[in-house]
Symmetry: C2
Subunit: 367 residues, 2 copies
């Protein structure tokens, strides 16, 4: 896979680095009422557990803004304050010590937005300028003849805003140009990447429910990520934000850009399959869900593609016509196991691999 | 979106056309034992209901092959027989009247595969030559230094096989080069599209469970489809194949290539959301699941992005701060509704749109 990434300006957000050579940062957004500090922190901890590195909270009113100092103090992740319409809330958020402010000059007005930018710069806090297709003025949106021209229009708006912020001395900037359409998203980010060296936050807004939203997000972000575009991403899904983080890693892992946790190669099953592979897959998925180290496992129902594919995995199972399984590990067939013993044998092998890695790591550290 | 598709040879499969200007064909594969005719037909009917246009059945043994005449007779979709290892099964499948045979010369041997090809050509039946990374000879696979070179190797194998088939007089060919890796898949299909004008069957094998598999498939196929590559596709997921068809349409719809059924734009919800949008979305999703006409709906929780995005939908709801909703239709705000009345109001609007379309269609037809 093309390892090449476009070179962007490095921006620091708390303990997290964004841009120029830093890993692509996975972020999400809480869905709890921000003023409910306990519920919000609980969700942030769950997000972190799933691999989230940066978390955004909505700050729609004074109640939410007043909760920020407590959230910043207790959050295990750097916080991004999402500010709309009301510039005063941004001041409260800056005073609370958030790592980044997300604003859209399209709904705040450019001058109030620049004021926030200057205050953020003084506080050493980054600013994301987030242009949304929904905030493109109605007349301009109607004039755009295609999704692509709407996307390019959004990119030009973002570049123009960024120029105004830079002239005002605000340099810790991140840009995003989100739309709910794949075509507009592709055109927007490609145009933006071609005309700015600021780090880019990728995302498709209003993607929808879990499966449809994940497919639409992957369809839009995969081409961009493969072109080297994107320094951080958020997958927007309706529902539990932990799923957003899982999908983000599934996408980055599929593209060879970041690995976290276990990737399972599993055959789709067909009329050849003589075992309940789906149940077996769910059992393995469940057992390895909390492993954060990169690992590839294979669960293959039959001999047609099974052995050939499974040999590439760190460990794997491939079904034999007699109902037994071959356990593979790191390229070598290990032994034949019964169907009942197959999943426990695979999990024991996983444990062994992780243990050996741990020992190798310990040996390296003490050397 | 780029409407351009690469020009490929047109191949007819029963009532379905593949390649050169035909819509991208959505296919799947049954997971029932093929000899269980009743269960297989039930699954085929469910697949057709979901929009599947071509269905593959595994033919691993004589029992499965003997069920084919009954399946062909009763199936509402053209059938593809999946043949591995045993060439005699292909003859039975051809006699049964399947629309396509899928073979892999890598596991059948080239000469037996060519024999099947000649018999298929005589019967007027198409052949898919399906190269899988699992069937690349071990020595060559080890020699490939990267996923990309493995992909290019698979493409060269497919082109070499296709040449042998064409010289043997077999011209109704479809090619596929599947792997479980995104990088290998991209390299394989790009190389193939550059050196063959045969229609291509896209897919990623062993993609995994539903969500992870859907993300990985979309990540691999989106760039190819956007480049004009692909005449038919199958999304391989472990589990119910109906999901494969849904994901295929979600992907094609996101890319503007084919529409079927309702696309729902829904906001991801955040701390600003004052209503249970997820539940609302699920209610709408469920109510419109059986609509096959293309329609875009919006379910937006709040005023920040809501109204701007929802106006682009055929019909939509956008939440207001007081807990009520604005119902939109085809670009115009219609009326304010209470939260309880919102979903029924949206569904009534959907019914109205479909009814009006039906009338317009009837008027056109009788004109």
């Amino acid at each position: 896979m093309r390892a090449h990434r476009l070179t962007t300006r490095r921006v620091r957000l708390g303990a997290v680095d964004l841009g120029r050579g830093a890993p692509i940062v996975v972020q999400s957004m809480t869905t709890t009422p921000t003023q409910d500090v306990r519920a919000t922190l609980r969700q942030i901890r769950r997000l972190r557990q799933a691999g989230c590195e940066l978390v955004r909270v909505a700050v729609p009113d004074a109640g939410a803004a007043e909760a920020l100092p407590r959230l910043v103090r207790a959050s295990p992740l750097p916080l991004v304050a999402d500010i709309h319409f009301d510039a005063r809330l941004a001041k409260t958020a800056l005073a609370a010590g958030v790592a980044k402010i997300r604003i859209n000059p399209g709904n705040l007005g450019l001058e109030p937005a620049l004021d926030i930018g200057r205050a953020a710069a003084r506080a050493g806090v980054a600013v994301r300028i987030g242009v949304n297709s929904g905030s493109v003025p109605e007349r301009q949106r109607r004039a755009a003849r295609s999704s692509e021209s709407l996307g390019r229009l959004m990119a030009r708006m973002a570049v123009r805003y960024a120029g105004a912020f830079e002239r005002a001395g605000v340099r810790r900037l991140v840009l995003s140009v989100k739309s709910s359409e794949v075509a507009a998203t592709l055109a927007a980010y490609r145009t933006l990447a071609g005309s700015s060296r600021l780090p880019l936050h990728l995302g498709l807004t209003e993607a929808g429910g879990d499966l449809a939203g994940a497919v639409k997000s992957a369809a839009a972000l995969s081409p961009l990520l493969l072109e080297g575009i994107g320094d951080t991403l958020r997958i927007s899904l309706t529902g539990d934000p932990v799923l957003e983080v899982r999908v983000a890693y599934q996408l980055l892992s599929a593209l060879g850009l970041r690995r976290r946790g276990v990737e399972i190669i599993a055959c789709p099953t067909c009329g050849r399959t003589r075992i309940d592979l789906e149940r077996m897959l769910r059992r393995v998925e469940k057992a390895v869900a909390d492993i954060t180290q990169p690992l590839t496992l294979a669960v293959m129902g039959c001999v047609v593609n099974g052995p050939g594919e499974a040999r590439h995995a760190d460990a794997g199972l491939a079904g034999a016509p007699d109902g037994s399984f071959m356990l593979f590990a790191q390229g070598r067939p290990l032994r034949r196991v019964t169907a009942a013993a197959a999943v426990p044998a695979l999990l024991a092998q996983v444990k062994k691999i992780l243990l050996e890695r741990g020992k190798a790591h310990a040996a390296e550290s003490s050397a």
